[in-house]
């Protein structure tokens, strides 16, 4: 394989990793927010 494709692949993997991480945190934050709002209503 040509080096360009290797670097491209590494880049894509890094970006996917970062994205998954951010997306998970985003979902957690959203859930926590919902829970908190429920608690506050009570």
């Amino acid at each position: 394989m040509e080096p360009v494709y290797v670097v491209l692949f590494i880049n894509l993997v890094i970006w996917t990793g970062l994205f998954v991480y951010l997306y998970k945190i985003n979902n957690q934050v959203r859930k926590l927010n919902g829970k908190l709002q429920n608690l506050q209503k009570k």
């Binding site: 491209l8 951010l22 985003n26």
Partner: protein, 220 residues
Amino acid sequence: MLNRILPFFLFIWICLVIIGAFLYAPLAEGLGELTRVLYFHVPTAWVTVLAFLTGAVFSVLYLKSKSIKYDYYAESASQLGFVFCILATITGSIWAKMSWGSFWNWDPRETSVFILLLIYAAYFALRSAVEQEDKKAALSAVYSILAFVTVPFFVFIVPRVYTSLHPDPLVNPEGEIHMDAKMLTVFLSSLAGFTVLFIWMIRIKMNLVLIHLKLKEMEN
């Protein structure tokens, strides 16, 4: 609903930018494979500046309203800015090594990025030195505004003292754009992608701050 789709859109967008940077965009004359760093280095540097600006704006808002959430927002912006600043420094350094032969030679751009790193470091050092929350907020807000005001001076004075080898980022003094259409497309999409990424990241941080504050409030 839009909030749920937007991240996936961003994911695909940046994937396309990465693929475009490696396969679609042609190489610039004289730079060879190095051209590809451009599509990641300039956007990170741009996001650093954006984060620095955001931090200063939140600091002003804090001093105006004295509401503690703005202080946390400013801190979040600075943390993100610091990360992007390090990335910009590293990518820039790689570029410098490959095209000028050394990782670091105090080129004006390198100097200014170094100053930004120093300012961020000083800002965090100040924050860690003050315990009281409102005091910490006020002092660090003042410092970040002060630092923000002095940074433009570098733009004037540093290039006069040290000659630069750094290519002009987008438009050179003659007002010409040194990129062909394909490169420009990838470059601008990369800028847009990174900007949206930054906004998304800071939104997550801001939501976290709000949760943190709510929890504190409920504990009392």
